[in-house]
């Protein structure tokens, strides 16, 4: 946790975006470690693969398109700071109402969880209960998530284009000469 806070402060203080991207990767990896400590292996796996791996890669990819330095701030950060602090205080105030961590009497453990734990081995027969909840009991949600990922891909495709007309004309110019002859031979 201390490490998380230290990384977050470093990210805020830095101006070099390359280091910021790397630090956010480290931040995600640390979060994955926290999830493992909490016994949420599936979540930790996702966090490590998606957040620490692929999003860091995509951020680096977009960094090569933009610059490596952050522009210095032009306005005094008083108003944003106030908003952030207020939100933080409200969130902390909200958590004071939540049940204690690991409390077996907490509403989340009394609603559908007991049914999943008792009936899922018989009904689904899959040892990993996370999978059975994710794919079967909550099939609708997962379908929605898949559609969200798909929509994100379509959005990027629509905005940036790929390999095709615009992308290729910009990309293939240098090695066009090298590639054309092989195409002709075929």
């Amino acid at each position: 946790m201390t490490f998380l806070v230290a990384t977050a402060i470093a990210i805020v203080r830095m101006r070099c975006l390359f280091a910021v991207v790397m630090l956010s990767g480290i931040y995600s990896l640390t979060t994955a470690g926290v999830f493992i400590i909490l016994d949420a292996v599936d979540v930790a796996f996702t966090e490590a693969a998606v957040a620490a791996g692929v999003s860091t890669m995509l951020m680096l990819g977009s960094l090569t398109l933009t610059g490596h330095r952050q522009a210095p701030a032009r306005i005094a950060p008083i108003l944003p700071l106030t908003v952030v602090i207020l939100t933080g205080v409200v969130l902390l105030w909200g958590t004071s109402d939540m049940p204690r961590f690991g409390d077996p009497e907490a509403p989340v453990h009394r609603h559908v969880a007991p049914r999943y734990i008792q009936d899922s081995p018989g009904e689904i027969g899959v040892p990993n209960m996370v999978t059975s909840v994710l794919a079967s009991y909550r099939g609708f949600d997962t379908l929605g998530e898949t559609v969200v990922v798909f929509t994100a891909g379509i959005g990027v495709l629509a905005l940036l284009g790929i390999g095709g007309r615009r992308g290729r004309s910009a990309k293939d110019d240098p090695d066009d000469v090298a590639k054309r002859p092989t195409d002709d031979h075929e």
């Binding site: 292996v41 599936d42 930790a44 796996f45 996702t46 693969a49 998606v50 791996g53 692929v54 890669m57 995509l58 990819g61 977009s62 090569t64 398109l65 018989g122 009904e123 689904i124 027969g125 899959v126 040892p127 990993n128 996370v130 999978t131 059975s132 994710l134 794919a135 079967s136 099939g139 609708f140 997962t142 379908l143 998530e145 898949t146 559609v147 990922v149 798909f150 994100a152 891909g153 379509i154 990027v156 495709l157 940036l160 284009g161 790929i162 390999g163 095709g164 992308g167 290729r168 910009a170 990309k171 293939d172 110019d173 240098p174 090695d175």
Partner: protein, 138 residues
Amino acid sequence: MNDDIVLTVIGKLLIPFILLFALYVQFHGDFGPGGGFQAGVLFAAGIILYALTNGTAAAMRLIPPGLLAPLAALGVLLYGGVGVATMLLGRHFLNYSVLAQDAVHGQHYGILLIELGVGITVAAVMLLIFFAFTSRED
């Protein structure tokens, strides 16, 4: 992008294991941690590593970008298709119990199929976004 021999060789060594591990995570998600999302991301990461060591153009020859958008749609269609199939077999949308003789086996098949759909979509979309970003730099 890079002609460093160390990176190329290490990448060559690692990529098969990354892809194999992705497939393991994909089909072993019922028994251990993991599933379609993680497997798709891992698979995409393997290809991205190839793109980083051997150049984006080589990776695009390996996996043609024109193939990725249909693949992304295919994953969603597979997922939705399983749901429609269960409806046609007389149950609720995405109730897999009817896919085999007994309910438990049906659930197994259903989960396997929809996880495959998720994996295909996630891998295709991740590669799509990566290619879209990298093909713009010159």
